[in-house]
Symmetry: C2
Subunit: 188 residues, 2 copies
DNA sequence: CGCGTAATTGAAAAGTATCAACACTGGTGG
DNA sequence: CCACCAGTGTTGATACTTTTCAATTACGCG
């Protein structure tokens, strides 16, 4: 649920000095919009500390959360590669520290550094691989099963992420989320 | 719903002769398993003709269809990049003609040909970009809205793909699919 | 023609959303 | 220090949607 990618962070920390300067640190408060869907952004962001959410808002104003991003996850690279407006919003949940890199420098690294190229390929592959099973399960299992699994995988999730966001991630109302939670706590 | 990618096919057709030989043509009958989830495969497949489905089967035996692949879509590249067992099955729906390329040659092209590298990056980005909005809509809209949209986007879909498969794609039972279809046809 | 697969339909059961009222919490200003 | 406020979370009753199950029909093909 909260994705991380340690390889990318340690890669950045071990980069040659000339490339190190590509990455600029920036801080965000909690509950801040870092990038807004359907706009152009100039940067690719890599999370150094904190938790963000990656979400889509539909025309009815309902929010759907695709993923929660933790350490080492990057955001905005899709748009740098296909040169389109970003298709989902990124907002901080906690305080967040990011590295950001410009599109231009991102492409320099992509072309000049085979390791970086491969890391990016791998991270894209991982994003794809994670989505499939998640939606398969969410569509086929009952809400109860999904929440049970969530609590096993991320026992501390309720302290890290607001209930409304978790409900949006699961694609259910907060009412259903509460009902199922109480059913789980008080088994028959 | 049925994804295609013409760039990749025309790229292959315009390749230098030395690289052309990397791609081997193969035919499959309809309803054939081309690759089975949780196994290793040796090839990356690119669809030249026909329609396939990319699906996950959960422990209850229920099938969830991620995508239908048409011309120019490739399959198996995720596994070539991250060197893991494939995470979803590929089966033909119609008769299918594919190009296949070995992992080894795939990596040769990836490293030696910047155009190919970029095409692969782009195709991965597209796969990610398509999934997000699809699941967001499917979770938030009613089944009826989703089916209406499907029939508008792919008017001929019912002749191309079995109903059971479409239902699995939508994540609903075929009973629900039929009920909603008849509601749409006979409006109040 | 006969067989197996795919599709259709109704009735009952299960699951989820909607709505509305109420409780809790942390911060702010008087 | 207290009162108030806004955001967040809780809960019950009801209506709606979807699944499950089972019986039946249609279709393609040897």
């Amino acid at each position: 649920m909260i994705r991380t990618n340690n390889n990318l962070l340690s890669y950045i920390n071990n980069l040659k000095t000339e490339y190190q300067s590509f990455f600029i640190e920036e801080h965000f408060d909690k509950k801040t919009v870092i990038a807004k869907e359907d706009t152009r952004i100039k940067w690719i962001y890599i999370i150094k500390e904190g938790i963000t959410k990656c979400s889509l808002t539909n025309e009815d104003g309902k929010e759907f959360i695709q993923e929660f991003f933790g350490k080492g996850m990057k955001f905005g690279e899709l748009e740098a590669i296909n040169n389109k407006a970003i298709y989902c919003s990124m907002s901080s949940i906690t305080k967040v520290i990011v590295y950001k890199i410009s599109h231009k420098n991102f492409h320099v690294l992509l072309n000049e550094d085979a390791d970086f190229n491969h890391l990016v390929l791998l991270s894209l592959v991982t994003k794809i691989s994670n989505k499939g099973p998640r939606f398969a399960l969410q569509q086929q299992k009952t809400v109860k099963d999904n929440i049970k699994k969530l609590l096993v995988d991320f026992p501390d999730i309720l302290n890290q992420i607001p209930k409304q966001d978790i409900a949006n991630y699961l694609g259910i109302t907060i009412r259903s989320f509460n009902r199922v939670l109480s059913e789980i706590k008080k088994p028959s």
